[in-house]
């Protein structure tokens, strides 16, 4: 079993892919709302979100390697 893979019943779940995928999907939805004009994003709001996405991915990758 690779780093970060959990046994849940008969299936293996790669946590890094799962968390990164959810983060990208959420980030994409925010960007889509911005493109649609629903949200007005500036660097003040966009930069923390982008850093959060990168940080979450790095965090879960690091935790997986530690396990």
């Amino acid at each position: 079993m690779r780093d970060g893979e959990l046994m849940r019943g008969p299936r293996e779940i790669d946590r890094v892919s799962l968390v990164a995928g959810l983060a990208f999907a959420a980030f994409g939805v925010v960007l889509l709302l911005e493109r649609a004009g629903t949200l007005g994003l500036t660097f003040g709001t966009m930069a923390p979100m982008a850093f959060a996405v990168v940080g979450v991915i790095l965090l879960v990758t690091g935790l997986s390697r530690r396990e």
Binding site: D14, G21, L31, I57
Partner: protein, 365 residues
Amino acid sequence: MDTTSDTPTPPPAPNPRRITRSTRDRIIGGVSGGVGRYFGVDPTLVRIGFVALALLGGAGLIVYAAALLLVPLDEEDAAAPTSPRDRVLAIAIAFGLIAAGLVLGTFDFVIGGALVPLGFLVLLGVAVWWLVSGERPSGNAGDLARRALLGLGLLIACGALAVASFFASGLGGGVVVVGIVIAAGAALVAAAFVGGARWLVLPALAIALPLAFVSAANIDLDGGFGERRERPATVAELNQTYRLGAGELIIDLRELDLPSGDHPLKVRIGAGHALVIVDKDVCVASSAEVGVGGVAVFDRSSGGLDVEWTDARRARRGTARIVLEGDVGLGLLEVRHDDNDRYGDWDERDRFDPDERNLACATAS
């Protein structure tokens, strides 16, 4: 009956972890071997780092010479922290460094100009591959070269993706790029249940981050590229809106004989430099939004991220006023009376120039 054997003996106190020079893994003085062992890194990488630093101004040689003198050898030779051979070597390196500085300083250190970037590229490639694959930088030179190439290849591919994402987002394809990011996220989630697809994380980041930058800076590259100079001679030729995707847009209004009253002027540039040149008898009231960059209207300026600029001015009686509305994604919007130093020498701006002012305006309103 021997009772001493049943008495639990306390475990020996652990030796404090200290850095020493390696006597087994040494090419010169065992510094790289010891540093590599201390940090759990392949000594070859440490040697590459020392060589790179040595070529970059000689810092590697200074550090190596200092380590030769100050760091003791392994425990088996700890009684002799610094052998006479190492002392001689350290002194020789110091003298060699001084001599090299005197001689190579006149030849502009040509060798360093080629080898230093190469060394950094190798280190960068290995670091990227380590981050992505989790493979520690160990093994022989062939393994290191393979990892460096894979890491650099990945970096170049992601760079190309990022550039494509930037231009596609700026040219109106932002929704498509957003769709790709969401699709990549969905693919990652789905792949998580069938073994994972971590390789997709880096390309997805390379696409998502430039898109986020373009969205935050509100960069619109539609409107053409390059340098454009507009010089209307009559009021009829003066457009209300000028726009350029990327490049330099110069709107020279000095030949224009503007009648008194307000004249709206919108300037929109995605990335680059916009310069509006007006006569000294024209008042300029300005407002602008800049994602990344700055605004400089005569002797007033502002810059940074998310710049909101307002310089409300009232014209003197019988004077023309240009009501400028700027929208810059990434770059600089300038208003001046001439086009000297038009690329915005910010140091020069600190000097007071009595001519570069909004002379035709009354007072700030």
